[in-house]
């Protein structure tokens, strides 16, 4: 299975980027085979970069790490209230968890959501006896509140880190190793003589 959806997310930490593409493929036994992510910096449309886990990307004075166990599809929805106000929300799904119980923003209403893998882009919402399958743009009514299924987008787990003391940490690693080895080698030489 190879999913190549194009989606755009914005994140902030020394800069904004768009998540252009997530490439996830699996082996026949369900194990993760390939996991790549392409982002573009907000202020530089030609800066498209692809990176993978274990190979963090230099970004905004820090590093952007891709967490390979965290990925899946998310559903963006909009809640429209009787007073005309609008709130947006996301429900995230993963490979091992294709259904979620979520709370409609500003209410205590709980809705059960299930993402149907085939055909892609079908969301099943249920609340009590009400069950309905929605495609992007469809609406689901909970009393006076309407939920609009906006779109299905991929999501990935990312970690942004800043590590200004990296060189000192590495110097510490080298010193502790050299110190230990030197101490024991000197001991060994002394014992020999």
């Amino acid at each position: 299975m190879d999913r190549r959806p194009a989606a755009r997310y914005a994140g902030v930490f020394g800069g904004i980027f768009f998540l252009d593409k997530v490439t996830v493929s699996f082996h026949e036994n369900g194990q993760l085979k390939e996991f790549l992510c392409t982002i573009t910096r907000y202020n530089d449309p030609n800066s498209s970069t692809t990176f993978s886990s274990n190979k963090p990307l230099d970004f905004g004075g820090g590093k952007l790490h891709l967490v390979s166990r965290m990925h899946g599809d998310a559903v963006r929805f909009q809640a429209v209230y009787p007073d005309g106000q609008i709130a947006q929300g996301n429900v995230i799904f993963s490979k091992d968890n294709d259904s979620q119980n979520f709370v409609v923003p500003r209410t205590a209403e709980r809705v059960w959501a299930r993402l149907i893998p085939e055909p892609a882009g079908v969301l099943e919402l249920s609340r009590g006896v009400m069950v309905r399958q929605l495609k992007p743009g469809d609406r689901f009514w909970i009393g006076d509140i309407q939920l609009v299924f906006l779109e299905q987008v991929p999501w990935v787990g990312m970690i942004i880190s800043r590590d200004p003391g990296r060189k000192y940490v590495y110097a510490g690693f080298i010193l502790i190793t050299l110190g230990l080895v030197t101490y024991y080698v000197l001991n060994w030489v002394q014992e020999k003589h």
Binding site: N29, P56, F173, T177
Partner: protein, 277 residues
């Protein structure tokens, strides 16, 4: 299919030879006949060569080194124990009898590996880094050193009890001071390997997760093992440790190593064990 059958054959031949070698080492401790020791040594070497072939065949079959499934890990770990024991005792005849304690431990680990699933797993993207090989190599060396030193330290208990006195083990066993000195040398080696294992793991963690240390359960037990090994070495500098105390501390190190390597990954969902699923 044929290659997996050949692999099975090599594995079972290794188990059989290690089993025979263990029996002969124990008979040597009991009857103290040089021919028994010689046979045990030859069987150990022959078993180890077959063991190496089995590890190489598995490597070829799985497409990666012995660090992905419990079967691969345990089978390789037992090879590390045998090579460490062999390297230490090859020029020290007076230590050979300790094979009666070390070889059964290697056999036990090998047996556990034989019971684990043979299913090969792929290397996930998060594990595709040279740091995996460095980290796992040092981890295997730590385990190997700890298990060999456990075997050596058990000899302190054995020689002073009724079995040791009845069999006159002191005749064929190395002097207590020599074995004790060797135990400390092995603990030193394990301590250095544990330091390098933790450092390589920290560098990898910083690349993968953006932090050097995460207080994950496996990391905590690895740190406890490292601290315990360091504690034993420091204790030696300031006090006279009796053989019994040293054995107790070494067994504690074995427990904490077992927690980090086996019990926690098998029973708890941690960031480390998730990667192996």
């Amino acid at each position: 299919m044929a290659s997996s059958l050949i692999l099975e054959l090599f594995l079972w031949l290794t188990v059989s030879l290690y089993c025979l070698a263990s029996i002969l080492y124990i008979f040597y401790a009991s009857f103290q006949k040089q021919t028994l020791l010689l046979a045990a040594r030859y069987l150990t070497v022959a078993g180890f060569l077959l063991h190496l072939v089995a590890v190489a065949l598995r490597w070829q079959y799985a497409g990666h080194g012995p660090y992905r499934t419990m079967h691969e890990i345990l089978v390789c770990d037992s090879a590390v124990i045998v090579i460490i024991f062999w390297a230490i005792t090859v020029r020290r005849d007076y230590l050979q009898v300790l094979g009666a304690l070390v070889m059964p431990l290697a056999l036990l680990l090998m047996g556990w590996g034989m019971l684990a699933s043979r299913e090969a797993m792929y290397i996930s993207p998060s594990l595709r880094t040279p740091w995996l090989i460095i980290h796992v190599t040092f981890a295997k060396l730590v385990l190997g050193c700890v298990i060999v030193v456990v075997g050596f330290s058990l000899s302190f208990l054995l020689r002073n009890n009724v079995i040791g006195r009845t069999l006159h083990l002191e005749k064929i066993m190395a002097p207590v001071s020599d074995v004790k000195h060797l135990c400390f040398q092995l603990i030193q080696a394990a301590f250095i390997f544990a330091t390098l294992m933790i450092i390589s793991g920290a560098i990898w963690a910083n690349d993968a997760w953006g932090r050097y240390w995460g207080w994950d359960m496996i990391e905590i037990w690895a740190l406890i093992t490292w601290a315990l090994l360091g504690f034993i070495l420091h204790l030696r500098l300031y006090t006279q440790i009796t053989e019994r105390t040293l054995t107790f501390l070494i067994l504690l190190a074995l427990v904490s190593t077992g927690m980090a390597y086996f019990l926690i990954p098998l029973t708890t969902e941690t960031i480390h064990s998730i990667y192996f699923k």
